[in-house]
């Protein structure tokens, strides 16, 4: 064979040459084997690392809907205008050449082609030092300027066409160029339909400019149930889970409400794509590969009823238009939250395109506290509404019985404890049996019996309603309320404290907590876990993923209230609304027997009255209770005057809905 022949025969010098060639080729072969076969994978990885950029593609956020599938939060398509820098590279180069020529001209030189042969020959002997016309730093600066000139020219043209006033500074572009060169440069985030029409109808032909359709979070009902549904803000910085990505496209993070509490389920699973980039960091043509499709977030089905929610908010808004308060409607049969309103409210759409500083400041106003969910996060003295608990505790412990409930007790219009502690009574002096005391909300009557009961028995009974514990809505904005600890009470108790507690002053509850208490009273003693979330459905309707349901009617505690005692309390609550002397008569609804209790808690500092928290706690209908409605208004006049009318309007809506005169979702 050709090779071996040369190695073994012939002249020694030629054999040396042949062996030398063999050795050399052998070295090359070994080197190539090492690089290509042994380290091939390593080099392929390095090649991929340098020429691919991974991009995290956010999934569409899951919807939040009411129990009938009506949307509280959804996604709307929106057009965005982007400039793809990589498609402008020829323009960049041209502009760069032009700028360079201008700069050179201004320095009295040209970048004309090389001088001729003779000139070059003569230049050899010339002593003049070679001038550096443009330093490398200036070159870099020129390229920057060229990029900006091209991009701002295009933006100018867009402005002319659309009549917009978009300004992108050199710094904007440079920042994008440095950090996200492979991604398109965003120019207009929100195009109106008219603008889209202009751009698409007239044969759009600007290089690099493209319209992009993106989903945008939207709350079609604006302020409706905003505290429960919550809000999102756009989110740019990477968290640990996506550190592996080079770039992440913007997505949303929940700020408050369900959007925040169930952010992970709603956000879905982000996808990933990889962009082929060239050595200058620009995207390469057709170089995008989708590695994993994003999968849309779960649809969160709440237990809320959109129509009822609207009615509740409208009813609450009729107090005086500037009210601070809350209203909660609970299904007494299973603990479902049907409506949950807090006033004043806010529009969660405000964050989508960035909230203004002024608006942000307004929302954080210390008095109005627009973002504060008063229904779940606000703890207030329950005032006289707590007398329901006091009454049941007295029946439980035999302080009150079916017989002695009819005994009359004489009151003075105030109650004196010890030498110098006097508690005013809003009910006038007179003779009160249980029913009258309840209907007229006599403090003296309940303090008297509360003192007999003793503070420990009362606290222990209140705890069985899980007061002082979070109700378990799974929201982040959830308060537990404050109830005095039994250990804190000295043996025998302090009579003043016991007296105050009997009429709902020494503890605080949230409106939702009180709603759960009333629901338990209404249904005969079953304390349910409140249920705000019905189920999570896969966002993709074609998906086979299972629906994650929250079981309705989960019992937290069963109170064993004797039916005859319950009947007395129910009757008293009915009479509070039904009788003309009842404090809750403003809540009376035709053909719908409302049972309620008013409350007015005074917030005092020493003897100075700071504020009044007014309440109306109720359920209906009397015959077969289905709804518990709690209304709370800060700085109201009285429970009966301020809150009962709100409840009345809510019950009217419920009555009409049950009759079928109102369709779902309407009011």
């Amino acid at each position: 064979m050709l090779v071996f022949d040369q190695l073994n025969k012939g002249e020694s010098a030629l054999r040396i040459l042949a062996w030398g060639v063999v050795a050399g080729l052998g070295i090359l072969l070994a080197g190539l084997w090492r690089v290509q076969v042994l380290s091939g994978d390593e080099y392929r990885r390095r090649q991929e690392t340098q020429s691919y950029r991974s991009v995290r593609v956010p999934a569409m956020r899951g919807r939040i809907v009411d129990r009938n599938g009506l949307a509280f939060a959804e996604n709307q398509p929106r057009f965005r205008l982007d400039i793809y820098l990589d498609e402008l590279l020829p323009q960049f180069a041209k502009m760069d050449g032009q700028l360079r020529k201008e700069l050179l001209a201004s320095r009295g030189a040209t970048n004309a082609p090389d001088p001729g042969l003779l000139d070059r020959f003569l230049a050899k002997f010339s002593k003049a030092p070679k001038r550096v016309l443009i330093t490398p730093n200036e070159r870099e600066w020129l390229r920057r300027q060229a990029r900006f000139a091209v991009v701002s020219n295009i933006i100018q043209l867009i402005n002319q066409r659309l009549g917009t006033q978009i300004v992108k500074t050199e710094a904007d572009l440079y920042k994008h160029w440095q950090q996200q060169r492979a991604l398109p440069f965003p120019v207009i985030n929100k195009l109106t339909p008219a603008q889209v029409a202009i751009l698409t109808e007239q044969g759009w032909s600007f290089p690099g400019v493209e319209l992009e359709l993106v989903p945008v979070r939207s709350y079609p009902n604006g302020q409706l149930a905003a505290h429960i549904i919550g809000a999102v803000r756009t989110y740019d910085s990477a968290s640990e889970e996506d550190e592996a990505f080079d770039y992440r496209l913007r997505d949303y993070r929940g700020l408050i409400g369900l959007e925040s509490a169930f952010d992970r389920q709603l956000r879905g699973r982000p996808g990933a794509k990889s962009i082929l980039i060239n050595s200058s960091g620009y995207r390469h043509r057709q170089g995008e590969i989708m590695l994993a499709e994003p999968s849309i977030g779960d649809t969160l089905v709440t237990t809320l009823d959109l129509g009822l929610q609207k009615a509740v908010e409208k009813s609450l808004a009729q107090v005086n238009g500037d009210e601070r308060g809350a209203a909660v409607v609970v299904d007494t049969r299973n603990g479902d939250i049907l409506a949950c309103a807090s006033a004043p409210s806010f529009d969660p759409n405000a964050w989508i395109d960035g909230i203004s500083h002024a608006e942000n400041t307004r929302l954080l106003d210390p008095k109005m506290k627009y973002l504060f969910n008063r229904a779940t996060y606000g703890s207030y003295n329950p005032g006289s509404t707590f007398k329901i608990v006091t009454a049941l505790a007295c029946f439980e412990h035999g302080i009150l019985t079916t017989e002695n409930a009819h005994d009359r007790m004489r009151t003075l219009g105030y109650y004196r404890i010890g030498r110098n502690h006097k508690i005013d009574d809003t009910a006038p002096a007179g003779e009160y049996d249980f029913n009258r005391a309840f209907v007229k909300s006599s403090n003296s009557y309940f303090i008297e019996h509360g003192l007999h009961l003793g503070i420990n028995n009362l606290l222990e009974y209140a705890r069985r309603f899980h007061l002082g514990e979070k109700p378990g809505l799974r929201l982040n904005e959830e308060a537990a309320g404050i109830i005095p600890a039994i250990e804190d009470v000295p043996a025998g108790g302090i009579p003043g404290k016991t007296a105050n507690l009997s009429i709902g002053q020494e503890l605080t509850v949230t409106p939702v907590q009180l709603a759960m208490v009333i629901a338990a009273v209404a249904n005969g003693g079953t304390v349910y876990w409140p249920r705000l979330i019905d189920r999570f459905e896969p966002g993709d309707t074609l998906s086979d993923d299972p629906v994650e349901r929250v079981r309705p009617g989960q019992v937290r505690t069963r109170l064993s209230i004797r039916p005859e005692h319950l009947a007395i309390v129910h009757a008293a609550m009915r009479d509070d609304v039904a009788l003309d002397e009842g404090t809750g008569k403003n809540a009376r609804v035709k053909d719908f027997a409302v049972c309620g209790k008013t409350g007015t808690a005074e917030v005092k500092a020493g003897n100075r009255l700071l504020d009044r928290i007014t309440w109306f706690a109720s359920f209906a209908p009397f015959e077969s209770p289905r709804y518990a409605v709690i209304v709370m208004v800060e700085s109201g006049g009285s429970g009966g005057g301020t809150c009962a009318p709100v409840a009345k309007r809510i019950y009217e809506y419920l009555r009409d809905r049950e009759r079928g005169t109102i369709a779902f979702g309407q009011n």
Binding site: A13, L25, V37, R46
Partner: protein
């Protein structure tokens, strides 16, 4: 294309060295295909005219080279060798001319501009040098044991060496030395001269390296161009910053090194990422995305493109084709009718092999980066034509092996 004294079919068959030319044709095919792969996409994006495609120009150079080979083979190499000294001095004049009126590209003056074409005198000088030295050494063996003659022969190599170094093109210059030594070896110059020279050269080279790489600035008696020094530092993986540098200097130096070792790094990534079977013709990304700089992908680093797209299998094929050409050369040297032919053929083999070894070695970081083209594969008219002419010399010697 062939001498008129063909007599029979049998003789004609032996006229053309078939394996040699099959190897050459194979290399030309590979060259055209992968130059197109390296430059085609970019040129079609630029809407270049078809005749402006580098691959087309390369093919034209191939054709022109073959034609010139045909012409050169019409004349017996012994007659050509009579003009050797003239050609040698002519090439020396051209090299001087480059220094004076050469065109500067990328900081080096290697080209002479003749209007539509530019050519690289150093390539021509290699051929002239081959002939001149072979001619000089083809005297009776007895005379070669004179040291004066050895020094003279060495001088013939050192003169163009020095001029090409001055361009600066250290890589091309270094080609002259191994070629000259191989020719002396084959000519029968006493081995002790060569061994002494070799030892001396080795000492000198290590002294130069130590001086360049480690000596403080004011001790340096050899001034290399800055970029040459950087290439050596990159090759030996040494810090750019002097030992007493401050931290910030060190950082700039490291960034500088990163920048200077860019080509080497990217060539390695190209070759390595090809793996065993490669990514497929025109499927390589290193050139297309510009990581392998466009200015060098189709010439000095064409092997990276081939290796990326065809993998180790393709590298093996290229090395195979070269070994066919090289061993045909060695065989032709062995069959040559006279010492001139043998020395000349050995010189051609050495010249080609030096190019191949240094160029492929540089693509896999076995050798420092130099501007040495890969014969027949690198884009570049002068290089292609001179490589073909060198192989034409082999053909000439082959077809005249029996003319006593």
């Amino acid at each position: 294309m062939f001498p008129a004294n063909l007599q029979s079919n049998a003789q004609r068959e032996r006229l053309i060295d078939r394996p040699l030319w099959l190897g050459v044709l194979g290399l030309m095919g590979v060259g055209a295909a992968f130059i197109f792969s390296a430059t085609g996409a970019n040129e079609s994006a630029r809407n270049a005219a078809w005749y402006d495609y580098t691959a087309v120009r390369q093919s034209i150079a191939y054709a022109l080279g073959l034609f010139l080979v045909g012409c050169a083979c019409l004349i017996d190499y012994a007659r050509l060798a009579r003009w050797a000294l003239l050609a040698y001095w002519f090439s020396i004049v051209l090299l001087v001319a480059v220094y004076v009126v050469g065109v500067e590209r990328l900081g080096a003056k290697r080209w002479i501009d003749l209007g539509p074409i530019q050519f690289q005198p150093s390539e021509f000088a290699k051929l002239a040098f081959l002939f001149a030295v072979a001619n000089f050494l083809s005297r009776p063996v007895g005379e070669l044991s004179s040291p004066a003659l050895f020094v003279k022969a060495l001088g013939m190599a050192l003169l163009p060496f020095a001029l090409v170094v001055k361009q600066p093109d250290l890589g091309s210059a270094l080609v002259f030395l191994p070629t000259g030594i191989v020719m002396m070896l084959v000519a029968g110059v006493p081995r002790r001269f060569l061994i002494r020279f070799f030892a001396g050269a080795a000492c000198l080279v290590s002294l130069v390296l130590v001086d360049v790489l480690f000596a403080p600035a004011n001790w340096r008696f050899i001034q290399l161009e800055e970029y040459q020094k950087h290439r050596l530092l990159v090759y030996f993986n040494l810090d750019f910053a002097p030992r007493n540098a401050t931290e910030s200097q060190r950082l700039t130096a490291r960034a500088e090194k990163e920048k200077k070792s860019y080509n080497v790094k990217q060539a390695l990534i190209s070759v390595g990422s090809g793996g065993t079977w490669g990514k497929g013709w025109r499927q390589g990304t290193q050139g297309a995305l510009g990581y392998l700089p466009r200015a060098v992908a189709h010439n000095d680093f064409i092997f990276s493109v081939i290796a990326e797209e065809t993998g180790f299998a393709g590298s093996l094929l290229v090395l195979g084709l070269y070994s066919v050409v090289l061993f045909s050369g060695v065989k032709i040297a062995g069959q040559a009718r006279d010492r001139l032919g043998r020395i000349l053929a050995a010189g051609v083999v050495a010249l080609l092999f030096t190019h191949i070894f240094v160029n492929i070695g540089m693509n896999i970081a076995l050798m420092p980066v130099t501007g040495i083209p890969l014969p027949l594969l690198s884009a570049g008219g002068t290089s292609v034509i001179c490589s073909l002419l060198a192989i034409g010399i082999l053909q000439n010697i082959h077809q005249n092996r029996r003319h006593y």
